[in-house]
Symmetry: C2
Subunit: 233 residues, 2 copies
């Protein structure tokens, strides 16, 4: 047994079906610049569609109604969007500019109640089309990304049996804490009569975290059985 | 009901307990440079420890035995490491240099069988200590990251009931395909008598994907019930 994965190579056919990156044309983009490699998953997703997740997030907001830039900012802030999608308050203007160049949003000048001239952004027909296409694209296929725990598991042999049990005990505790938080979020969203799609932000994570919990328990069981057998040999 | 999340802000206390970024000192790093925001999760994780996941991956390899650079490359390739951790073949030398500067690896010159002088890398005591610390750190706390499906779910109102059912049907199909792949990987790893830690790469994902499957089914059930009620009103 090798402490790292396996000595022999996994047939590339298995691994590329699990992580189908190399078949995508944009994969080469990340290979050209090693510093971009960390972003490869984001890049791949970006390249698959003509709009990025940041652009999608803003188009989604503007699909509700035309907005002044400060309203967009306020919405990003109030919906806590930077916590559940790749957007930052500081990138909003840059993204709006991109959307304008791509003809996905229109910019008009309006006169406010206080007689000031202000820019107002609205989504175009082309923007609505691209937004819908991107939403459909995201929801049509499971996202597979890198989970750093795989790196720790591949190096598990450097820890003793006791240490593995101790750290995974902490891992279980952190899962339970997060489940409690997501339950609290669900309660909050229910109280505010959130749509079923938005409620899913808390519900889906609870399903995943419970599964992570079950995995840890089954893993520890298997691990301790194997360790017990080895120490008896 | 709002098409986006909820109109009122989620109390910051709930959201920061779920995504505890702002409390970390390095959070400010990502705020200073908007282009770095996409990397914020990676950054946060990077800042928490003194070594990055790429450095951890290479230290893990060298913890087995000292290696020539071409052996390291061969291992990264043969263990398909670029698919399950953030490493690319092109970044190996840069990372080795960093590890050398941090005194985590030693570089020695050796004479090979064919009388050539070659560099050989070995892990130092300090390197072993940091590797272990990082592995313990990763395994002590659940990783919470951004899932792009949340972005689609927040914009669900732009799709019709039929469209939601159709795309989530495809999503279910893609989950099933991945589960099949991971089962195949598990079989392969078992046949090659892989350690229990390495087997977990395929087993853990199966737990998560089955949970994702259950979530989709429960979500569709809830969504269709709500849509049915609305159309009857």
């Amino acid at each position: 047994m090798s402490p790292h994965f396996i000595r022999r190579k996994i047939p590339i056919t298995i691994i590329t079906r699990i992580f189908p990156f190399p078949s995508l044309p944009c994969y080469t983009v990340s290979m050209l610049n090693p510093t971009m490699y960390l972003n490869s998953i984001v890049l791949v997703q970006y390249c698959m569609s003509s709009i990025s997740n940041m652009e999608t997030a803003l188009l989604g907001l503007l699909s509700e109604r035309p907005m002044y830039p400060y309203e967009i900012e306020k919405n990003v802030w109030e919906h806590d969007m930077r916590y559940w999608t790749e957007i930052s308050l500081s990138s909003i203007y840059k993204v709006l500019e991109k959307l304008e160049k791509k003809l996905l949003v229109d910019v008009n000048l309006t006169v406010t109640d206080t007689n000031k001239v202000k820019k107002i952004y609205s989504i175009t027909e082309k923007g609505k089309k691209e937004l819908k296409e991107r939403i459909v694209e995201i929801m049509s296929e499971l996202e597979v990304s890198i989970h750093q725990i795989d790196l720790a598991l591949a190096n598990l042999s450097i820890l003793t049996t006791e240490e593995v049990n101790e750290v995974l005990g902490k891992y279980l505790k952190s899962i339970d804490e997060r489940i409690t938080c997501y339950k609290e979020l669900e309660k909050y969203l229910l109280e505010h009569e959130c749509a079923v799609g938005n409620l899913a932000l808390s519900k889906r994570r609870q399903f995943l975290m419970k599964a992570e919990r079950e995995w840890v328990i089954s893993f520890l069981d298997e691990f301790n059985t194997e360790s017990g057998e080895e120490s008896n040999e």
